[in-house]
Every structure is written in structure tokens, then in C-alpha cells.
């Protein structure tokens, strides 16, 4: 998690109309290529029993990790953002199923603001680095043994 930005090799065809041109109007003719870099989402402070689910790690490994944490802490919180929501729900439900219904789930949803950077491919060309914000949905599932 040391890398603050994760570059994505996607170039965004930029609309010349919105492009701020410092000098010269001929620039509007050729679209400037931008590289879209997605910043990492802001995260909740990580407690020992917090799990942030992603789509890169193997599903079984993440499930096993959750099970292990659950055994140690009796309560864990599984977070999933965007596409990983499905996986977070799946992990939570699988944990519940394998516990024979002893576990309870408490799910909360939220919206996460994400920031994308648009960097011009060619630094010589006019074209300011831009940022864009967009929203994505997230889920936070508390998996716990209910107190009797």
C-alpha cells in the first residue's frame, strides 16, 4: 500500500472543447491524450479485525483469512468497494453458512468519493493535469457472534 497511485493504462480521448488552451487556438484540432490514473480510495482506519476485500487476491485466501480473524476476535468487519461488494457479501454469507447460523451479519452501505487524475501523455503539449471525482458504492458488513 506504499504506492499512492495505481496507474491504469487507459488513455482518455479528451474533448477539445473543454480543454483549457493557454495559447494558440490550433491546438483544439488534435485531441490530447491523457493517462487516467486512479487514486487509491480513502480507507477507514484499520483495526485488527477490519478486512478490506479486493478482486485481486484469491477468493479462498480471503475467506480463510476472515475465518481466522473471526476465530480470534469473535467479530470482524468486512469492507467492499464497487465490484468487490459482491465478494464481500459472498464471504460474509459463506462464513455465516459454515457457522450453522451462529453468526449474525449487520450490513451498512455508503458512498465513497474517488478521485481520478488525468495526466497529459506528452508533457510538452499544452494540457493541464486534470482531476475528476466520481462516486462508488461500498458495503461494510459486521460479522459477529451475537451476545447472549
Amino acid at each position: 500500500m506504499a504506492e499512492p497511485r495505481s496507474p491504469v493504462s487507459a488513455s482518455v480521448p479528451h474533448n477539445p472543447m473543454v480543454l483549457p488552451t493557454p495559447e494558440g487556438s490550433t491546438l483544439e484540432m488534435d485531441p490530447v491524450e491523457y493517462t487516467l490514473r486512479k487514486r487509491l480510495p480513502r480507507k477507514l482506519p484499520k483495526r485488527r479485525n477490519d478486512v478490506y476485500v479486493n478482486m485481486k487476491t484469491d477468493f479462498k485466501a480471503q475467506l480463510a483469512r476472515c475465518q481466522k480473524l473471526l476465530d480470534a476476535h469473535r467479530e470482524i468487519c468486512i469492507h467492499g468497494l464497487g465490484l468487490a461488494i459482491n465478494r464481500a457479501i459472498n464471504i460474509a454469507l459463506q462464513l455465516q453458512t459454515s457457522s450453522q447460523g451462529a453468526l449474525q451479519l449487520a450490513a451498512n452501505t455508503s458512498t465513497v468519493e474517488l478521485i481520478d487524475d488525468l495526466e497529459p501523455e506528452d508533457p510538452d503539449e499544452a494540457g493541464e493535469p486534470l482531476t475528476r471525482t466520481r462516486n462508488n458504492s461500498a458495503i461494510h458488513i459486521k460479522v459477529f457472534y451475537p451476545k447472549l
Binding site: P45, G82, I85, L93, L105, N108, T109, S137, A138
Partner: protein, 223 residues
């Protein structure tokens, strides 16, 4: 991940039934294994919100549903009562979705919360049963029924208060990542509300750069 469940659930294959398909065999050879999906039956799952009045609007979000269509309809129904005082308008709405529509379902609920405000939320997760009938395209001419389970979500949004002790309850206006004028702690549920407060402080202290190291002093400042 769905595949792994699929494999586990495939045990419930009933006796192979020979069907009448003499003319079909060569049509769909492109399919892997020569199986073709014939039909798909969703099993009726129990309503996750017991004691819900009958007239509640249920929005079934599917993979291909357009958010603007869903929201256009749901928002109009939820905002209706302002005009028509004689008739009690809609006070609750349920968004449900399964499989790949789960994200969209949450997005719909989040949009509605943002637009209307003051909504109480109850989120429930469950597996939804799905029965698929596959027909063999090879000489065997048999049918196989596959039982799959899909994760599904149901989100109840209500203008009236809901039971805060029920798991999955979310009070109005507690968006985790949203800017808030910090300080107000309802202290309802220990650990959960603590993380909410931490989040608010983080938001106000950390400007635009996301920095892991900043979370430490921010934490102390709040406590």
C-alpha cells in the same frame, strides 16, 4: 467465486430425464460440453423484513436495469405525498437485487438517501436459490438441473423510524465518507459509531492528499 459455489451445489442433480429432441443435437455444438440452458427458475425467498406493510414498493433491480428508470419511478413515488395530502403517500421502499445487480442496488439506495435525506435504512443479506435446467446437446439427450445460490441484498429505506437494535440498521445521514460538521455523536452502537466519528475527523483534517500517516493524530484529536 460463483463458480465454486456452483460446483458445490451441483450435487442436487435429479435423475436424468430423457427428452424429445431429435432435431436439436447439432444446433448448439459451440457450447462447452454441449449443454444449453433451457430455463432458469428463481426460488421464492422469504422476505427479509417481517412485519412490513403490504403496500410497500419493491424495486427489483436487475443486471440490465437502468438507474435513471429505477430512480425516476421510485423517487416520484416517494415524493408523491407532498402534493397529495389527503392520501398517505409512500413512506417506505425496498430495493432488492442479486448477483451482479447487487452493486446497482446499493447505488440506487445511496442515491435516494442523498436526494431525500432523513431516511432510515435496514440492509439484509441472504443467499437466493436459483434452479437452472440445462439440456444436453450430445447423443445422451438428457436434462440436468443445477442448483445455484446467488448472494442477494435487500435494502429497506423508510421515512419512519426503524428498530435501531436490529442488525443492519443505519440511522439517517450517517454517510461514512460524507462531509459532516463533526462533533455530534449519537453514540448508538459503540464500535460502529466510533469508526464513523474517526472518518469524519479524517475528512476534516486531511485535505486532498490521502495519507495513511495522518490517521494517527486525527484519531487522538477526536478521542
Amino acid at each position: 467465486m460463483e463458480l465454486s459455489i456452483d460446483r458445490d451445489a451441483r450435487l442436487s442433480v435429479p435423475g436424468q430425464t430423457t427428452s424429445v429432441s431429435a432435431s436439436l443435437p447439432l444446433l448448439k455444438q459451440t457450447h462447452a460440453g454441449g449443454f444449453k440452458k433451457v430455463c432458469r427458475i428463481e426460488e421464492e425467498s422469504t422476505c427479509p423484513f417481517p412485519g412490513l406493510p403490504a403496500g410497500v414498493l419493491e424495486m427489483r433491480v436487475k443486471e440490465g436495469s437502468k438507474i435513471r428508470n429505477l430512480m425516476g419511478f421510485a423517487m416520484a413515488r416517494m415524493q408523491d405525498e407532498a402534493r397529495d395530502a389527503s392520501q398517505t403517500g409512500l413512506r417506505q421502499v425496498v430495493f432488492t437485487g442479486s448477483g451482479r445487480a447487487v452493486t446497482k442496488t446499493i447505488t440506487c439506495a445511496e442515491i435516494m438517501k442523498r436526494k431525500l435525506g432523513g431516511l432510515h435504512q435496514m440492509t439484509k443479506l441472504q443467499y437466493k436459490g436459483l434452479r437452472e435446467v440445462w439440456e444436453s446437446q450430445e447423443e445422451g439427450d438428457s436434462e440436468v438441473t443445477v442448483h445455484r445460490t446467488l448472494p442477494s441484498i435487500s435494502i429497506l429505506l423508510s421515512k419512519d423510524p426503524l428498530d435501531p437494535l436490529e442488525p443492519g440498521y443505519q440511522p439517517p445521514e450517517n454517510s461514512l465518507w460524507e462531509e459532516r460538521s463533526g462533533g455530534d455523536s449519537d453514540g448508538a452502537t459503540g464500535e460502529e459509531s466510533l469508526s464513523l466519528r474517526i472518518m469524519r475527523v479524517l475528512k476534516s483534517t486531511v485535505s486532498t492528499e490521502t495519507s495513511e500517516t495522518l490517521s494517527e493524530p486525527a484519531l487522538k484529536a477526536e478521542m
